[in-house]
Amino acid sequence: MFEYALAQYAWHVQMLHGIMSDIDDANITRQPVPKGNHPAWVIGHLALSSDSLLKMMGQPTIMPENLRPLFGRGSEPQAERSIYPSKDALLHQLATAHTAVSQALPHVPREVLDRPNPVPLVQLQSLPTVGNLIMHLLTTHEAFHLGQLSAWRRAMGYAPLF
């Protein structure tokens, strides 16, 4: 059921490494568009989203508690570089969460996938079950934020990658 979505999800990590490969650590909180999402926030936010997937699947979460307020829903990206972990640490956090999700998802019982979507956002009303939400987070949600990084690269003057 999730084979293709998991393949895309794995590909996102490769894409992210490509997007970030020529970006200096000092620049990952730059905001060429005021209030725009910068790489530090996007990577941390995606790691936290994967962490929430682990929770939905009944798995242990791995994001350190002190980082959660920086990246959760409603958090605002800050230009202050020192409040975020390093680029490498963020990428590692994301990769670790991805690996855990990819290993756990094939074993999640159908009964869990058919439970009601626990996220009370009006924008996600068309995703009524945990299974729908998982597919959304694996694919559309990650792709959406990768698209923001694509635009961020261009706005910063880096070469377009996609």
Binding site: V33, G36, R73, T140, A143, G147
Partner: protein
Amino acid sequence: MNLKERLRRQMLTARETSERLLADFKTPEDWTRQVHPHCNHALWFAGHMAQTDNFFISVLDPAKAKDWPEFAKLFGMGSHPTANPDDYPAPAEVLATMRERRQTLLSILDNLSEEDFSEPMPKGTPEFLPDKGSVFETSIWHEGMHSGQLSVARRALGHEPLMA
């Protein structure tokens, strides 16, 4: 919930997000506003969604695809957006085309069975589309990625995030 229902819901959710983002672009200048000369703008996004859906339609049901070289030139893969509204059809026309192509793609989905999704695509189809199911999965992913770019153009107009 079977795969077909899951794909349909994902396609609808992705499109609902795009439509909400697009609703904040009002003037012709909003529609072609570029954060940077290399960035895609809202009108390019709408046309590109139509162009890409037309491609997906062409590999699933060629008789329903449109042959429109001028549209492809403006919005196809590798096209470069310009900030001049006069270089493009009116936003309402592009939006209508985007919506019509999506309805056609959804009607193709509705006529497929669960077994059809694992049917291999014809020879000559790009290898990232190995079977019919992957066409719809790619459409979802593709829209998500470009709507992320669109969200940056919208943010540059001063709007707050949709999902704060």
